[in-house]
Symmetry: C2
Subunit: 631 residues, 2 copies
């Protein structure tokens, strides 16, 4: 942690220009008055989790949603906060860096100073380790100058991801007390937000006055639910990766002799891979969620790719209206995307990884693991090429998943596909040219990018919301913005109790006995019934065969493309918070119309229709109605 | 080659915007009159090559430089061409794709149609193979519409790089005759331009009326000499790579625990690596030219990197004026660039590769090679890790170099450095944290990029010049633009006989007997006495220690950065063609002043000063004056 944080640095011309960019605020955050409207008390996403979660979070479970209102909003029972005593607030980067993180700090800093110039923002140096050790840097205009709208987490740095053990939680508690903080803002993803909720509960229990606020910042885009439409960094990562994927597509089409296998960073789930596919139109993508849902084996996936390669090689000729000549389209090139989490989605590989991780945790040395695997796992392990064996033997991450960035799934699949295509060629079932693969991993080269305009705006607004949450004295909340697909002046700002996003995992390994996990936010999977996935499926065959490559180009900060938003964000009809508000309006309207004094007929009609409405909704909400979880 | 060339395709918003961008022409190319001024007859770069080259190119050696003039230029003996009969011209992509290639076609097409709407441009489909097979696509406005200012070579495609064997040259000759072409434009790098010169000579010998013109398009940036300041594609590649390198630098600084080893595409020489270093300021770059000049072994390079890692870990503390506190700067992260050609620059690896390639050409199978190596090469080979062994055994490229894109030098060095750092740690000489490396290869993900504004302009202008060269009836010339670091309206357009860029390689393996190579253009090395390299050396220590990372950001097409040019282009004081013209002006002036009729004194003074001038210049030009080649 001892490093040159906050030091002014040389910026390129473009960096300088970006550092001068000022995100605008939505109307509800303008001015110096904070206006909060509270909604109903919240529950949990899955009704069966209520008991476990409410027992684990007695102080922070069931708090209401909070909406921040514009000055012109006419809401009679809104809380209006006009007094703004000076506040001391701490902020910390937890987890992996994601483009835009710096702007959360900037947004919060500006809001603090706007409401009271005597307020103080302390950044913890070096992530959670800096929090425990109380290493702080007071944020100032000078320090922020060269970090506004810039990528990375280098203003404060980051180390470990976790605030979980009793020692860690106590160290955080002590730090907040010693530093007299009224608020602690935790910038991070799924894991860090779960930790934030735990910290909020512990602080409340210990009567520590520090309120804990979470901010959804993770390039994986997997902190996603009714309240959180997307995460800071996801937009940038997908744009930078799509640029590179498109470049590779153009390359493939120019050279016409290589198949490119590209693995994308993004942890367990395939949000990044799905978005990049929708932006750049490669020939194929294999989502972990599809593989898990269809229980595809390594051999199934290999066959699927080989069949695609063969289908492209065997394309027939067609008559081109444009060239007025017959065109042949046998193709020996292509681009295939693979999410880094794919490897864990393949059932037999997952089982193998679980065995390996179990043995590693028991302290079995890497050299002895293969001899201690179950016969079945051992057979699979021995089948794999040596480089993958070494990578599967790496110690698991803190969230129990494999070291996904280190496992070269793209090379494994390229290797298996090549072997199968050579076999088909020998057997005479494939008559095309030799299959040649080139492998890429896109991750680290995108993660440090200058953030897109969207991520700059989103992060800055979220930082501002953190102030509003603290002004309202809320604890255990996450800053949220909904209606993001619309322009900033339409954005709805609010705060959501973190407990509402939690679920509890249940296992039943032995019949009769079932284990239950700790309440936690779990990373969202790609919704295979969602609109974004539907869009992909509709076009899959054309993308595979016709090379509809599309190049969104390098991230632009000016002109067309600069204001583009993620396809998945735009096609999904999310606005959950908007609908919750709309529902409240309807209920209020009914109450207004059917006031005591209204006619008997109106009352009867209202009763009859409301009875059937409640019946239908109760049925739809019962666990038996839909065996799948609602999200 | 049978593919869907020239098919209209879906463009992204940014691609559409780019397709509407219209590069401007320098004044000398404006209008419908072609004005050529010829300079003196050319010689060769190295005076000792004159004999060999003039004998190999009896028809095309010694032609004069050509300058194209603006309408206002007052040059009495300029050739003015106002008649423009309809022309049939062929154009072909040779060699690897490079961003901007499409604009050469567009520039030539526009020039052809501007001077005579009945002219025809035929694109050969699928590179030189398409030329041999006479597969053509007539270029039209419709076809160009979605390829203007776009990356890749997919409008026409490309296959093999060579037009060299007698069969190939004859096939090209037949194609040009059959298709009645007055000109054949070859878009490519060092190898293709050498082939173009040979083709021009053969055509002249065979009295084929087709004139051959070369256009310098190669991302490697190694077709560089007095006449060619840079190549189409180099600017884009360096910008895209610098963006990614900078992202990785930001990432390194945020996580503070990884050393990134990044290998860059760019063939034998280190132009791309040097330019990217000057743009993005990583901690270290190891240029192949430095390694070759200092004869560094693999162990020297490893030690050099290890010493750098250790120096960074052992940095002492300093007092920060900004933070008013003592800052520690022990660093466990860094970014190291390696050109892909580095591996061939290491003397002992080069010797090993030569042996392997010799055995491969003799037909020795890959499995038997290690047993047939000389004892010394064998020892080195056995020392290397298995993945590198496999890659070194790949069959060499058509230009006799190793398959550089396939040899993971970055992994080899990371592996060696890790082993050495672990050893130092055990021995107690290194006391820092464990060294962890992450490896990247940046190549294919940049090669298909949308071209930068500079490359769009440069390529379009070169295409236009091709028309002027053909209008002037020149054969065996390359289209050239000088003064490129200045705005387009200052660019000087001309044509240079390709033979002037050729050199002849000489070997003397056995004393007494010396072999001599065929005349060829050889890729330029990074000039270790040049200004760009000097700039790098001046800042090397600071870059290594102080993390002066600089992020030029993603390629912009609008706003600041959009008009940025390569650092190496701007710092080098090239304008050779400008100086050649200036010299002519001086000589003409002397001739005007010292006309018959001038005073005896003036004549005496002129004679005396010119005698000493010629003495000095003769001495400087003699081979013994400077043992090094002049470029």
């Amino acid at each position: 942690m001892d490093s040159d944080y906050g030091i002014p640095r040389e910026l390129s011309d473009l960096q300088k220009l970006r550092s001068l960019y000022q995100p605008v605020l939505p109307p509800c955050l303008e001015g110096t008055t904070v206006r909060v409207e509270f909604g109903d008390a919240t529950t949990t996403l899955d009704p069966t989790d209520v008991h476990t979660i409410s027992r684990s979070f007695p102080h922070t479970y069931g708090q209401p949603l909070a909406h921040f209102l514009r000055a012109t909003a006419k809401v009679p029972d809104a809380h209006i906060i006009t007094e703004h005593p000076a506040k001391r607030v701490g902020i910390v980067f937890c987890g992996r860096q994601s483009p835009g993180g710096h702007n959360v700090i900037w947004g919060l800093y500006n809001a603090l100073k706007l409401h009271n110039p005597n307020s103080t923002l302390l950044g913890f140096l070096g992530g959670s380790e800096g929090l425990f050790a109380q290493k702080t840097l007071e944020i100032t205009d000078d320090i922020l100058a060269t970090y506004k709208n810039q990528g990375g987490y280098d203003l404060l740095g980051r180390t470990k991801d976790q605030i979980r053990t009793i020692e860690q939680v106590n160290a955080a508690l002590t730090a907040c007390k010693d530093l007299k903080l009224v608020g602690l803002v935790i910038i991070g993803g799924v894991t860090s937000t779960t930790d934030a909720a735990q910290l909020a509960e512990t602080f409340a229990e210990a009567k520590c006055p520090t309120k804990v606020v979470g901010v959804p910042v993770t390039l994986n885009g997997d902190l996603k639910n009714q309240f959180v439409e997307t995460n800071v960094g996801f937009d940038t990562i997908c744009k930078v990766n799509s640029q590179l994927i498109s470049n590779v597509c153009t390359d493939a089409l120019s050279a016409e002799k290589y198949y490119y296998f590209i693995r994308l960073m993004g942890r367990k789930h395939s949000h990044v891979a799905l978005e990049c596919t929708l932006q750049s139109h490669p020939n194929m993508v294999i989502l972990g969620e599809e593989v898990a849902a269809s229980k595809l084996t390594l051999f199934d996936i290999t066959k699927q790719i080989c069949d695609a390669v063969q289908a492209r090689a065997e394309q027939v000729s067609f008559l081109s209206w444009l060239l007025k000549q017959r065109i042949w389209t046998d193709k020996y090139h292509g681009v295939i995307l693979l999410p880094e989490g794919l490897i864990e989605s393949i059932p037999e590989v997952y089982a193998l990884l679980k065995e390996i991780h179990g043995l590693l945790r028991q302290g079995v040395s890497v050299d002895n693991i293969s001899s201690q695997l179950s016969p079945w796992a051992s057979a699979l392990f021995e089948f794999l090429p040596p480089f993958i064996k070494r990578q599967l033997l790496l110690y698991p991450e803190s969230d129990d998943s494999a070291q996904l960035s280190q496992i070269e799934t793209e090379k494994l699949l390229a290797h298996l596909v090549e072997a199968e295509m050579n076999k088909r060629q020998k057997e005479g079932t494939y008559k095309g040219k030799k299959f040649i693969a080139i492998c890429h991993f896109f991750g680290y080269q995108a993660r440090g990018s200058l953030p897109s305009k969207f991520d700059c705006d989103y992060a800055y607004v979220l930082g501002h919301i953190c102030y509003h949450i603290l002004a309202a004295g809320l604890n255990g909340y996450m800053a949220t913005v909904t209606n993001l697909k619309n322009p900033v002046n339409k954005w709805r700002c609010g705060a959501t109790p973190i407990t509402v996003m939690m679920t509890v995992k249940r296992w039943s390994q032995n019949p009769g006995a079932s284990s239950i996990g700790k309440p936690a936010i779990h990373p969202a999977t790609v919704d295979l019934k969602g609109k974004a996935y539907e869009l992909l499926r509709q076009n899959a065959t054309q993308l595979l065969i016709d090379d509809l490559y599309r190049n969104p180009g390098p991230l632009q900060f000016d002109g067309p493309g600069a204001d583009a938003k993620a396809v998945t964000l735009c096609v999904e009809d999310q606005d959950y918070m908007g609908r919750i508000k709309k529902l409240q309006e309807y209920l209020d309207k009914v109450r207004t119309i059917v006031k005591p004094g209204c006619s008997q007929d109106v009352l009867k009609a209202a009763l009859s229709v409301m009875a059937s409405v409640t019946d239908v909704l109760s049925t739809m909400s019962s666990p038996s109605f839909n065996s799948q979880s609602p999200h």
